[in-house]
């Protein structure tokens, strides 16, 4: 199975799991230092990459660290020492890494990290977004992919976005555990030369160098912290502009992806209700609208594939065109509601948009959410709002 990710001279189409799509994308992006710690359901990513390094298919240093905390520590060090870096984790691994996830976000470390979304304790290995949502405030760009193809494409783009000198911040590519990580699907793989043409080698903005010494992240007073935080806010504003440009470039040079921040599926002009969901639940919603169409109910799906920066303008311009909105979250901010719902509501108020708003939480701990379930929820909305 592993030999499918040999260097490709030409684009190819293969059947692969989401984990293999991540590993293939990482390999094509030529990271120089990889540090990772295994956790279900991310393990196949690190096993595949360490195999590639061992066999000499990928010229990188692979650090078998003793924890996720150390994985992020190692990539922070390696990034500042002037190399392209990669790691991946999931669930409790992400939480254990947490201190350094924030460190990387707040001190601007352009690392790329797929997060294979998995529920938190009690022990449960199935998917929800509670892990990644916990870090939505940590100064990371966050993508949520809907299928293995998007996992591969976004992971390659993530390096270019992270390393853009006007962005220069870490990127998380979230993919639902098992639903994507362990499920085989058809994936178009770009050739190495196409990726090289899209993604130039790593050009550090600042590098630990004895010939030009600096201290990174030293003791800083409120003025300095303020300046750095304002810069991070501005960095996300830059990212809003630059991400679609990079997605456009990828689509032109390699194909498929499209430059949208929010994917729209269905007939928005006649839709009675719009469904908003992230990741594979967004894709499931796409199935749901076909199912609803058979019952002569018109619905549309808005799937944000970028959650940070939050695509407020794009979402609002879409929501303005529909009468009802159903937001489905796969995580909760306990004591309030689902994070996606909270953020959309805030934006609806700010933009004075009048829409019937409905929110539900589904799929926690990997509880199955089928297209039929989603369709039923839409029908319920329509029944309530007659």
């Amino acid at each position: 199975m592993k030999e499918m990710v040999q260097t490709l001279e030409k684009p190819q189409t293969k059947l692969m799991t989401g984990s293999e799509a991540v590993a293939t994308a990482a390999k094509l992006s030529r990271p120089q230092v990889i540090a990772a710690y295994p956790i279900t359901p991310q393990t196949e990513i690190v096993e595949t990459l360490s195999g590639m390094v061992t066999r000499g298919e990928l010229n990188a240093e692979y650090i078998n660290v003793e924890s996720e905390h150390s994985a992020m520590g190692a990539v922070i060090g390696a990034s500042l020492a002037g190399t392209r870096t990669f790691t991946a984790t999931s669930s409790h691994g992400l939480l254990y890494m947490g201190e350094l996830v924030w460190w990387a976000g707040l001190t601007r470390i352009p690392v790329v990290m797929p997060v294979v979304n998995r529920s938190l304790n009690p022990w449960n290995i199935w998917p929800d977004h509670q892990d990644a949502m916990t870090f939505r405030d940590a100064g990371w760009i966050q993508f949520y992919a809907k299928n293995n193809q998007e996992v591969l494409d976004l992971t390659i783009c993530a390096f270019k976005i992270a390393e853009h000198h006007k962005i220069w911040m870490p990127v998380m590519v979230c993919l639902d555990g098992f639903i994507l990580s362990h499920t085989t699907a058809q994936v178009e793989i770009p050739s190495q030369s196409d990726v090289d043409n899209f993604l130039p080698s790593f050009k550090p903005l600042a590098m630990l160098d004895p010939d030009d010494p600096f201290a990174h992240g030293s003791l800083t007073d409120s003025e300095g912290i303020w300046e750095q935080r304002m810069s991070l806010i501005a960095g996300f504003d830059n990212a809003r502009v630059i991400i679609p440009q990079i997605l456009t470039e990828y689509t032109e040079k390699i194909g498929r992806l499209g430059n949208y921040m929010v994917e729209v599926t269905g007939d928005i002009d006649n839709a009675e209700c719009a469904i908003v969901a992230l990741g594979t639940m967004g894709e499931e919603a796409e199935q749901a609208i076909e199912f609803l169409a058979e019952k002569n109910i018109k619905a549309v799906v808005f799937r944000p594939r970028v959650f940070r920066p939050f695509p407020k303008k794009e979402l609002i311009s879409l929501i303005k065109q529909v009468p009802r909105l159903l937001v489905i979250d796969r995580a909760v901010s306990f004591g309030n509601a689902g994070q996606l719902a909270i953020e959309i509501q805030a934006e609806l108020y700010a933009s004075k948009v009048d829409v019937k708003f409905y929110q539900i939480i589904r799929g926690l701990g990997g509880k199955d959410v089928s297209y039929a379930d989603i369709a039923a929820e839409v029908e319920k909305v329509l029944k309530e709002d007659k």
């Binding site: 120089q32 230092v33 540090a35 990188a60 240093e61 650090i63 078998n64 660290v65 003793e66 924890s67 905390h69 150390s70 994985a71 992020m72 520590g73 190692a74 990539v75 922070i76 060090g77 390696a78 990034s79 500042l80 020492a81 002037g82 190399t83 870096t85 201190e99 350094l100 460190w103 630990l208 160098d209 004895p210 030009d212 010494p213 600096f214 201290a215 990174h216 992240g217 030293s218 003791l219 800083t220 007073d221 300095g224």
Partner: protein, 295 residues
């Protein structure tokens, strides 16, 4: 043989004057002696007094590239740097500069992982026996009887033997050194710099602020720790221990300066009972006996 002072005089100025270190700071002596002995060092500093004395952003007292990192991430960040510089083909020396809190306690897992992987790093632990930058709380390195802000009645337990834990990793070079003997420290660092792999140097670095001692006595307390047998000086190369010339004679308890002389110069030990002093003497002998097994 230790280097002569003239041989040290062309060393680079790694610690610039006018920083936040307290007057008579032991770690400053340790830092400038150790880091100046290295070729193109890149230094990783976790939370510790060294992250405070560097002064306020954007000014920094360290004249070498420095990465500040979270408490328990020093050796992992250094692993990343060492591997990255190897990938880039750059000739640098990757250094962990951690206090005893970061080495003995919270950062134990990160260095153990790096040591087990035999990463190409020199790990210095400047040991001032407690959490100094947060104001003198107990650490695993705090000796029995010492008053800290979290052991106001004096610590009940003996201090952890970090070197014996480190030695269990069978890394290529381990040494202990003291700011009381800067030439010995400098010589050991030079020696370590010629070896590949994970190297560890524990440096006794008295802290006048936390130990309630006269700042002028900082080097003398370093010397006394050696002369009382409290802080033995030695090297462990490929698993074999050799006591340093400066310290070997104190193997014989008869030749040791009475520990009371060391303890009485620091107010942190003023609550010690005679029973505790006897226990400290036993602790000292126990450590020497254990170390002798590595010879």
């Amino acid at each position: 043989m230790n280097v002569k002072i003239p041989e040290m005089m062309d060393r680079p100025e790694v610690l610039l004057r006018g920083n936040f270190a307290c007057a008579g700071c032991g770690l400053s002596i340790a830092y400038k002696t150790a880091i100046s002995a290295l070729n193109r060092p890149i230094v990783v500093i976790p939370a510790c007094c060294s992250s405070v004395i560097q002064s306020l952003h954007p000014n920094v007292t360290y004249n070498v590239p420095t990465l500040n990192i979270a408490f328990a991430a020093h050796a992992s960040a250094a692993s990343g740097i060492a591997r990255a510089k190897k990938m880039r083909g750059e000739d640098t020396t990757t250094v962990v500069w951690s206090g005893d809190g970061g080495t003995f306690d919270i950062g134990l897992a990160t260095w153990s992982g790096a040591a087990e992987r035999n990463e190409n790093i020199i790990h210095f632990c400047y040991d001032n026996n407690f959490y100094s930058n947060t104001g003198a709380q107990r650490s695993g390195a705090t000796p029995r009887g010492a008053v800290t802000t979290t052991t106001p009645g004096g610590k009940k337990e003996k201090r952890k033997s970090i070197v014996r834990i480190m030695a269990a990793h069978d890394i290529p070079y381990i040494a202990t050194a003291s700011i009381g003997y800067p030439r010995d420290l400098y010589t050991k660092v030079k020696k370590a710099s010629l070896i590949e792999g994970y190297r560890f140097i524990l440096i006794d670095a008295p802290c006048p602020t936390g130990w309630n001692s006269d700042p002028a006595l900082t080097p003398e307390l370093g010397e006394l720790a050696v002369k009382t047998g409290y802080f033995p000086l030695y090297e462990i190369e490929k698993g074999k221990l050799t006591f340093s010339r400066r310290g070997e004679r104190y193997r014989d308890p008869e030749k040791r300066v009475p520990i009371e002389e060391y303890l009485s110069k620091q107010s942190r030990f003023k609550k010690m009972t005679s029973t505790q002093i006897l226990e400290v003497k036993k602790d000292i002998q126990h450590e020497w006996d254990q170390l002798s097994l590595f010879e």
